[in-house]
Amino acid sequence: MIEVSRLVKSYRDLKAVNDVTFKVEKGEILGFLGPNGAGKTTTMRIITGVLPPTSGTAKVAGFDVFESPMEVKRRIGYLPETPPVYTDMTVRAYLRFVAEIKGVPRKQRESEVDRVALRTNSDKFVQRVIGNLSKGQRQRVGLAQALLGDPEVLILDEPTVGLDPAQIIEVRELIKSLAGKHTIVLSTHILPEVVATCQRVVMLAQGKVVADDTLAGLQKAHAGAATADGGMGPAPSLEEIFLKLTSV
């Protein structure tokens, strides 16, 4: 569904993304990991068409992001690091506007807004002005916005930041329930989140892919020394693998 191939993004001498290649299959939830500044957000911005790459290609549903941006944008819901909300609008007015620019037909707009508000538990505060909402509420509005129009692909940049533990669990459940029908790229720092939701992991460090495997595969590859009787060593936690791969 998503094919990123030899992607490079450089800012003068700095290569924020350096030869990144990975694939996401339809219906899969991909955990996109890496320390701050590893190039996760830049890669996501390229896939969603916010930024052009310096070289390399990104394809969504077979369409090149650069050559047919409109086709790609029609298929993507994106939640950036900071939820892109207008603080002076009410939640409902905001979601209506996003539904409109995403091309949701007029007759379905209201029901679509209600659907995503309910889905993200934002329905209690749809009449309120976004500027007066808490950080967690804004985050949920941002997530609701990404779900509008039921896009095939969801790109979520740290969707659980600012949420309280109960909300984090809710959002995780929501993301899991979206799997299968939607293809999801989930960037996060919170490793248990990946364990809880993702089938596969791509790990970036300093702009490069350092791991691209299933969770089980990663654990197998980085297992401790074999025990005396020839069995597997203790399975390392994702945390250990993360620290090992991303430390320089």
């Binding site: 052009p52 944008k73 950036p80 207008y86 002076d88 609008m89 409109e100 620019i101």
Partner: protein, 261 residues
Amino acid sequence: MRNSIAIAKKELNIYFATPIAYVMFTLFVLIGSYFFWSLVGRYEQFSLMYMRVNSPEMMNRLNFQDAIFGPLFGNLAVILIFLIPLLTMRLIAEEKSSRTIELLYTSPLAPRDIVFGKFLGALFVVTCALLLTLIYPGIVQLIARDTAGVEWRTVLLGYLGIWLLGAAYLALGMFFSALTDSQAIAALLGFVLALLTWIIGWAAGQAEGTAREIVSYLAATGHLEAFGRGTLELKDIIYFLTLIILGLFATHRAVEAHRWS
């Protein structure tokens, strides 16, 4: 176009949800009313004076258009120089500083939808502000109903001129908003450029020959006065349309360039 209207509606939602539109209307009508009131006072003085010296010839020459509406439109235009940057400063700079621009970039919108939609939204606010000032010719019409009354054709042409001027200032102001993510800088630059189209007219007085013609064509004053006199000439329309298209085009380029930086 459908996308532009969606953007325009969003801009209006914000203009009217925040004090911006109301502040604009209040200031425009408040200052406009002061000018109107003093122009009417002057008209009254002149007509009393002409009556006293018993000069029907002078009396005939005194009309609402030259004594009230012509100067009034000039004054309203000057208020626009101050108020339009208030509308345009946030248009794109705010989207950049609050990062909502990413939402627009990841939606199936072309940059021209964004630019034109924002322009339409702000133009609607300016149009409303101008419509509010229709009370002035309305008042004159009511009071002077037993005389010839207001020359509506001339007054409406004056309005067309000032509306075009407002649209030009909007397009140019939006360009500065697209260059920066600081609203203050966008407002200041928009204000200076609008002011420049005004003061360049004074420079024309000192120049001579071709230079004078060029400078006075570049100034907004002469074109606006032509509309105020009730003449509709292609060169004046082209002047304003050029500024509008130039502003929109430059904004479009700035938005595109922003994505590539």
